[in-house]
Symmetry: C2
DNA sequence: ATATAAAAAGACAAAATTGTCTTTTATCTT
DNA sequence: AAGATAAAAGACAATTTTGTCTTTTTATAT
């Protein structure tokens, strides 16, 4: 349908934002997150595994276990999350889908698309989880269909 | 996977560009296009039907039939094609997938994403098929994996 | 009239994405 | 040691997207 980020990626962003808002002192159970964020538990588990193996999150098994951000949220950018889940296809591929489209033998849209793409990349690269969670708490913005940041500590 | 435009949409763009490069004097058979552009004939047929019912292309059955652009290519923008195939989801929806995210009750990414999205929209809105086909012919750019505009008349 | 060309329509199949469920492994608590 | 908690792993199902094939409709040409 055309949607920039996959659903997995969107879920991953929401969950990461949630974790950043909770700080990285304690581990947060995925079950809790899945309920708060209204995302299927098992599906979310898989997504977070991708972020864990990318080194953005760390997990711990057993009681008091869960996941948390490795670094403090101000050091994690949206770009890292997007790349970990959706790869860099969006940020490198030709808008007309031509393999190997580049400076050497571009498609007619190459230049314009490269600019637009850079706009997307820049936005993702210079937006941190910390920044968003701070803004979210300050104005009690939405992190789920209905609810905001208010209860998140 | 995250890819801005669906494959259908990318095919639709390539085909529209092909048609624009051929002018709108004669009807071009879809079979011919599908071969030149290396896109599955039946799949392409469906995609072009969407563009036809959106009023961007017109078709004619029987011998010497095919499809052509309704208006001359300088009046058709990429935005029209993208909206006809992928809808305006990409250009309106929340980056975090929250339904009804807007000024009234935004998500933390709302503002930044709105800007980025406008960048995409503007690029699509102010790029015409004519502009691209002109550029494509002038520099023999790529419209297929291997081939360029050279043979397109 | 008949044959041919080509889009339209619709049934069907394959692949990718999204979502669910069960089992295994690691860790903690008692 | 036994039970409880929670992530990891993997099998399976539903849905969406992508792709293929056949039949129908409309027009042309002989």
């Amino acid at each position: 349908m055309g949607m920039l980020l996959s659903k997995s990626c969107v879920y991953g962003l929401r969950a990461s934002l949630y974790l950043a808002a909770r700080g990285n002192e304690t581990y947060i159970p995925i079950r809790e997150m899945s309920e708060k964020l209204e995302i299927s538990f098992h599906f979310l588990t898989k997504i977070l595994q991708q972020l864990t193996s990318a080194g953005l999150l760390e997990s711990y098994k057993g009681p008091n276990g869960g996941v948390r951000t490795t670094r403090s949220g101000d050091e994690i950018t949206l770009l890292e999350i997007v790349e970990a889940i959706d790869g860099d296809y969006l940020l490198t591929e030709c808008a007309l889908g031509l393999p190997g489209c580049g400076i050497m033998k571009p498609c007619p849209l190459h230049e314009k698309w490269a600019e637009t793409r850079d706009g997307i990349r820049t936005m993702l690269e210079f937006t941190t989880l910390h920044e968003l969670s701070k803004k979210g708490k300050e104005f009690d913005l939405r992190i789920t269909a209905e609810g905001g940041f208010e209860g998140l500590s």
